[in-house]
Amino acid sequence: MAALLQQIVSGLSTGGVYASLALALVLIYQATGVVNFAQGEMAMFTTYLAWTMINAGWPYWAAFAATLAIAFAAGVLIERVIIRPVENAPVLTIVMVSIGLLTIFNSIAGWIYTYTVKPFPSPFPSTPINLGPTTISLQDLGVGGVSLFVLVVMYVFFRHTTLGLAMRAVVENPVGSRLVGIRVGWMLALGWGLASLVGAVAGMLVAPLVFLEPNMMSGILIYAFASATLGGFNSAGGAVLGGFLMGVIENLVGTYVTFIGTELKLTVALAVILLTLLIKPTGLFGRVAVSRV
């Protein structure tokens, strides 16, 4: 029982990372109807920037904050410069552009930083602390806590600010949004900026666990896809919950289904995607898309 609880708690911690990246995917999907395949590589690249700053002697949290600012600005810039020209193109075109971005970020990271695996510092010590019947490391608690904090900030932003409201309006009805004076293009760019920021958080939190290298996010991205699919691609809250669920599922399956071990870990994510699509294609909290004609 204690072992089970242990697995669940530590699953929630990695789940926070999946939840953050899943939220990033959903933010862009809702605004543009397109899945941004480059989300993981954008997070990886920003994590390298954080690594550069920390290596140059910056304190961890200063580098963290600066990286978030750069990630946000880069997200906005990518939308304005690269995505905007294809904004009205067929979905397939935009998907191809995002796959192109994926390759570009991956290669540039490899070119600048080489493919050698690098350690990335964690701001949290791995000291275990006792929580009733289970113990949890400060590392797990920190990762879970930071991602939860970011997700709560995002929630407050979307629910309780005028800008957040405007972004939700654009998702639902771009034409109606323009009629009340919302600058739709900038809202889309803002969406990319926020997605990139949330992705950067995920990258920096997960880097100490998986180590820093250009392909470090590929597995995480698939888990984020599974999270968003499980929770529902058109429900931000659902995707976040799906992220935490995926963290727990991953841990439980890894522990109790012995033949899976670490080699078949990605299969778990793909199985979740497949099962969700077969049983409830909209995900746990997704809505069936209704369009008025």
């Binding site: 005028t162 409201l165 405007a166 939700r168 309006a169 639902e172 009805n173 034409v175 109606g176 949004s177 323009r178 009629l179 009340v180 004076g181 919302i182 600058r183 739709v184 008025r292």
Partner: protein, 237 residues
């Protein structure tokens, strides 16, 4: 009498096809102006041309300044609220959120709060349902929400696109009564496009008759009500 909005030689296009053929009309300040016309006459297009949603030719002046060729989001900022056909509310957002979006371009927080109370006073049903998603409102309530959202801009000019569409006659009367009250007590100039000629001519001061993209008749609403040919084709008695 001063015209708040003036159009001359106004043309509008969907792609390459021209739907408005050189219209000239004026909306007088503090008055209700109606454009009557059958389906496909170009009524909706006319409003879309004013709010910058489609490509136009000719000239549109609002309060003396040219606004043709500007983007919808800039035209809203001049104080023109467009209440689109088919209501155009945000059905997944709550009633109150819809209303707040109506005031999106305004910065005066206290004024917005006052106006929220004001529209709740005009439309008590919206206050009751302020926390519900707009999608659960009835057709009449959604039309009221659309109108209320337009008012949240504190507009100088309100563009109404067939508010009577799909509503029971008693609701149309109610809605038009509110539009008149808004026009009289708040000094909001109204440009209304309608098929329901009886109700619209009752409400309006000035009227235009639009047929396949051209204005065929215009004059004071009272005169048009007496005009035989209009009576036969639009009023049906």
């Amino acid at each position: 009498m001063a015209a708040l909005l003036e159009a001359s030689n106004l043309e509008a296009y969907y792609g390459w096809s021209k739907v408005l053929h050189g219209l000239r009309f004026a909306v007088e300040k503090d008055k209700v102006t109606v454009v009557l016309g059958a389906n496909g006459a170009g009524k909706t297009t006319l409003l879309r041309a004013i709010s910058g949603m489609i490509r136009t030719g000719g000239e549109i002046r609002f309060a003396g300044e040219r606004i043709d060729g500007q983007a919808p989001e800039d035209i809203v900022r001049r104080g023109i609220a467009h209440v689109p056909e088919g209501r155009g509310t945000f059905i997944n957002l709550t009633v109150e959120e819809n209303l707040r979006l109506g005031a999106y371009v305004r910065k005066d927080k206290t004024g917005i709060r006052e106006d929220l109370d004001r529209v709740f006073h005009f439309f008590p049903v919206l206050k009751e349902k302020s926390r519900n998603p707009a999608g659960v409102l009835s057709g009449g309530e959604q039309q009221m929400l659309a109108l209320a959202r337009g008012l949240m801009l504190r507009p100088r000019l309100l563009l109404l696109d067939e508010p009577s569409l799909g509503l029971a006659p008693v609701l149309v009367m109610e809605l038009f009564r509110i539009v008149r009250a808004i026009n009289e007590s708040e000094g909001v100039t109204v440009l209304l496009v309608e098929q329901d000629a009886v109700a619209a001519l009752e409400l309006a001061h000035q009227a235009y008759l639009l047929e396949t993209g051209s204005i065929v008749t215009s004059g004071p609403a009272a005169e048009l009500r007496e005009n035989d040919s209009i009576r036969r084709s639009y009023l049906g008695y």
